[in-house]
């Protein structure tokens, strides 16, 4: 393992830093054509209803209104808005506009006008009559309500892309069961038996730039969509599918993105802009306000997770059963995979079981559709499984860190619940040990509640958790990179991966620069325009560093090889005789010359001088000269395109620790310290990895303590602005301390694995167990508000 890196594993500023911070027009909203129509969406006030009639005639008379579309005006066939590779497991369960509305906010009509005022005036004049139906709001009652006739998807043109165990008449989108061994037999043999049920609620990704896109016909008549999206190529396919167009007639461009966190892994605004341009020929812009982004975008799926865990006296977990019930919401984007991850990425951490089981079911309800959010099911599963393991520690009188160390998988071992993959790199034991030191666990951790009093009714406690994620989807997702030598002696790299602020443009440039022995400045990264970028499935599933990174390294190596071959031809020598230092190609000093230098008794300095003299100007070629030669019509242009698809999805790991202070009079929780130790393999960019981890921990802390999606009795979202949905401010997260324990992943680019998602998982179980450790209050549903803690203390 060579870790002597020059460009990767360094602190490097993002290549777009000054444009995004300085106010350059680089985001979607900055690029909208002046004559674009403003698109507004009339939305259902009911959670579940049939649309009987949409009367548009009066609204159409509003000056400036150009078109109003309802379900009769859009294609009948169903599609999925999920950005994932085709074919996949997402059901075709939605239309652009439908005759049934399935949650409060489901679109009923699309209004396009010359300006916002006209569109809004028209919206008030569109008259819609509904037949209101009883909505399914409680996901635990979804099956039972279906028996009473409340079927969320009764339509006859619903399409399952593949068998996922769905039963629409029972509101079941999908279900699955996997496992090994005789669970009940092993469980019953165990000294400690736990049977715990936990709830996670929906969460908002809350990226600062809300959903938005605009569309127009480009110079060659292609329907062009400029969108703040993580999935540029998927959007091209999905829009073509939605409108019944050939993909050749659709083009998608991704500018800079103001955050995504998974929200923009689904198509959200794009069809509304596209359909207006398709109908009118005019450019059209749709921008969701914050209310729409929260109520009508997508959220983290809410879960109920039951964990049955059996362990022996020493804390060795012998039997583990994770049973997940997922609230899909109104439409099924990503739900099947999200449900899967709640088991696939939690069970493997307890690697010494004699029996394990994972059962999952996903049900439709009449609430905002779920979607992708950083962590993607692993987060929900981690909360439940890790909280259960922390409870085991308490019951068994064992240290929670020791229990983890005892049960972890070892390098070289297959992980049956993780697709049977063999673990090839893991520094999680080091992460646990380092985190323990950082938070002073050995001195501060007391197993009994009320052990650390810091005020008249204030107590402190510690908690911890471990987690894993993946690095892309195995044997499914394809990422391609094109890199070329330009005649100015620099490189242009085309990528289809979508930098959403995480810095993938920069880290991929670092990887190419490491191979090509140059600075990042010499690599121009261009992405993403489906017309000119190479195919990449987009940025999700923690895949850009690992999957697109692997494609980058291979493309850069292939280009380097081509350059060496070409330089050899031009220098009139064999390729094996050529050396490259990043700027110039030299003819290697031959054995004969080295021998003669030795015989002449030269010292090291003189030898270097003589060698440099031998590699004289006429025997070398600059990168720029090679570039010029490649475009002068005599030689080939030098370019390489390589795609990569992971044969494995190596897991990154985190050990997370939390210290909290709880007020027993009020239930108020103060976060004192959050520590995360991360194994993401080789850290490609030290700044960006650290900030990713800090940001993930903050979001995890928000999920643990504050962030709560509340649905009112009529199905309306009560928490539809930052007034009600509180993400942490800088006053709420006093301290997040991150350290890295780098393993070396043999299949990764320079030994790297992913980091984007894994960092969000541990705060909620760590914080919840710290609360319990402080005052004995046991919380089973997120977020752990002061109210819940107060009630838990009162009801003890």
């Amino acid at each position: 393992m060579d870790k002597n890196f020059k460009v990767v594993n360094q602190h490097i500023a993002k290549t777009d830093a000054f444009s995004i911070m300085g106010g350059a027009p680089v985001y979607t909203g900055d690029l909208v054509p002046g004559d674009a129509l403003t698109v507004k969406i009339l939305r259902s006030p009911y959670a579940f209803a049939k649309v009987l009639e949409v009367k548009k005639d009066i609204a159409m008379k509003v000056p400036g209104v150009v078109c109003i579309l309802s379900h009769e005006d859009v294609p009948l066939h169903r599609m999925s808005a999920a950005g994932s590779s085709y074919p996949g497991n997402n059901p075709y369960d939605r239309r652009i506009l439908d005759s049934i509305v399935r949650y409060v906010g489901d679109p009923v009509a699309i209004i396009a006008a010359e300006d916002e005022k006209a569109a809004e005036k028209a919206m008030k004049l569109v008259k819609v009559s509904y037949e209101v139906m009883e909505p399914v709001l409680d996901f635990e009652k979804a099956e039972e309500m279906a028996a009473g006739g409340a079927v969320v998807h009764p339509e006859d043109n619903y399409v399952f892309q593949m068998d996922i165990g769905g039963d629409l008449q029972k509101n079941i989108l999908s279900q699955d069961a996997i496992g090994e061994g005789d669970f009940e037999a092993e469980y019953n043999k165990c000294e400690f038996k736990l049977d715990e049920t936990y709830y996670t609620c929906a969460n908002q990704q809350a990226m600062m730039e809300t959903f938005r896109s605009f569309s127009y016909y480009d110079q060659s008549g292609r329907l062009t969509i400029v969108s703040s999206t993580q999935i540029t190529f998927h959007v091209r396919r999905l829009i073509a599918q939605a409108l019944g167009l050939s993909q050749a007639k659709v083009r998608v461009i991704k500018p800079r993105i103001g955050g995504g966190f998974g929200a923009k892994q689904s198509m959200v605004t794009e069809p509304y802009a596209a359909v207006v341009t398709w109908k009118t020929g005019r450019p059209a812009y749709v921008c969701f306000d914050r209310h729409e982004s929260f109520a009508c975008g997508n959220t983290r799926h809410g879960f109920r997770v039951r964990v049955r865990l059996g362990a022996d006296r020493t804390g060795l977990v012998k039997a583990l059963w994770v049973d997940s019930l997922q609230n899909v919401g109104a439409y099924g984007e990503h739900a099947v995979n999200v449900a899967g991850l709640s088991g696939h990425k939690t069970i493997p951490l307890y690697a010494k079981t004699s029996a394990w089981k994972f059962t999952e079911k996903s049900v439709y309800t009449n609430t905002t559709p779920g979607g992708a959010f950083r962590g993607f099911g692993a987060t929900q599963g981690c909360f439940a499984v890790e909280s259960t393991v922390n409870k085991l520690a308490m019951l068994a009188g064992l240290d929670p860190t020791e229990i983890r160390l005892k049960n972890l998988p070892e390098v070289g071992q297959p992980m049956p619940a993780y697709y049977g993959e063999i673990l090839q790199s893991c520094a999680l034991p080091d992460c646990i040990r380092t985190g323990r030191k950082m938070i002073d666990w050995d001195n501060k951790y007391k197993s009994e509640p009320f052990s650390t009093q810091v005020g008249p009714h204030r107590y402190r406690g510690l908690g911890m958790a471990v987690t894993m994620q993946g690095s892309g989807l195995t044997n499914l997702d394809c990422c391609t990179v094109t890199i070329r030598l330009d005649d100015g002696g620099f490189y242009t790299m085309g990528i289809g991966a979508s930098d959403m602020g995480t810095g993938c443009d920069t880290i991929l440039a670092q990887m190419a620069a490491e191979v090509l022995q140059c600075d990042v400045d010499r690599i121009v990264v261009n992405g993403v325009d489906t017309t000119s970028s190479p195919y990449d499935k987009g940025s999700y599933a923690s895949s850009t560093t690992y999957v697109t990174g692997n494609a980058t390294v291979r493309a850069a190596k292939q280009l380097l090889d081509k350059m060496m071959a070409e330089a050899a031809v031009q220098l009139g020598v064999e390729q094996s005789e050529v050396e490259f230092d990043g700027d110039r190609f030299f003819v290697k000093a031959g054995e004969e010359m080295l021998q003669s230098m030795k015989n002449a008794g030269l010292n090291t300095y003189e030898k270097t001088q003589a060698k440099e003299g031998a590699e004289s100007e006429e025997r070398s070629l600059s990168l720029e000269e090679l570039g010029v030669e490649s475009v002068n019509g005599q030689r080939d242009f030098l370019t390489a395109t390589v795609s990569f698809s992971g044969q494995s999805s190596p897991p990154p790991f985190v050990a997370g620790f939390a210290e909290v202070e709880v007020d027993t009079e009020t239930g108020e929780i103060q976060l004192i310290d959050l520590v995360g130790v991360v194994d993401c393999g080789t850290v490609i960019n030290k700044n960006l990895a650290q900030v990713q981890a800090e940001g993930g921990f903050m979001q995890g802390a928000g999920m643990a303590l504050y962030e709560q999606v509340v649905i009112a009795d009529d199905g309306r979202l009560s928490t539809d602005s930052f007034m009600q949905y509180k993400i942490p401010s800088r006053l709420d997260v006093p301290k997040i301390r991150i350290a890295f324990e780098e393993s070396y992943e043999p299949t990764g680019p320079f030994g790297a694995k992913s980091i984007g998602e894994v960092v969000i998982n541990t705060p909620s179980p760590a914080i919840i167990s710290a609360i319990k450790n402080a005052v004995g209050a046991e919380i089973h549903s997120l977020p752990a508000t002061a109210e819940k803690v107060y009630n838990a203390l009162k009801n003890k």
Partner: protein
């Protein structure tokens, strides 16, 4: 309506209910962005007569005759902060950065040797979803040293 934008005289028609944010974007100040519509996130922070305000909820007409400053109007001070942010990786998606930077520069003018708590209180209205604020805190420390 007449006002001064980054030292330049502007004469522009505005609607009675138009927020300053929209007018500034019409003047091609793309650094001024909206994040929440409810005065919660601080992304649209600009200065009116050198005081930071939230331009999403500031009626444009109120700026009549006043001096409005965006990040484009304080290039030297902004560059200093941007460079520190870039070198710390604290820009991330960058969407909230201009508003944050305008608050930071205002704070630097307002406070001398502030404590960490004073800094956090001054900037509490500038939300960021990407960074977890720690990298911004490191930048602020460097800004004062």
């Amino acid at each position: 309506m007449k006002f001064e934008l980054n030292g330049k005289k502007i004469d522009i028609n505005v609607a009675a209910d138009e927020p300053l944010l929209e007018v500034l974007r019409r003047c091609n100040c793309y650094s001024v962005r909206s994040g929440c519509d409810t005065s919660n996130c601080g992304i649209c922070t600009v200065w009116v007569d050198d005081r930071p305000i939230l331009s999403c909820s500031y009626p444009a007409a109120r700026a009549e005759g006043k001096k409005v400053t965006t990040i484009e109007g304080v290039p030297a001070e902004a560059h200093e902060v941007m460079e520190l942010l870039a070198n710390e990786g604290a820009d991330q998606c960058g969407y909230c950065s201009p508003g944050f930077i305008m608050s930071v520069i205002a704070m630097k003018r307002d406070l001398t040797n502030p404590t960490e708590q004073e800094i956090n209180e001054y900037l509490a209205g500038n939300l960021c979803r990407c960074t977890g604020y720690m990298s911004q805190a490191r930048v602020l420390e460097k800004l004062w040293s």
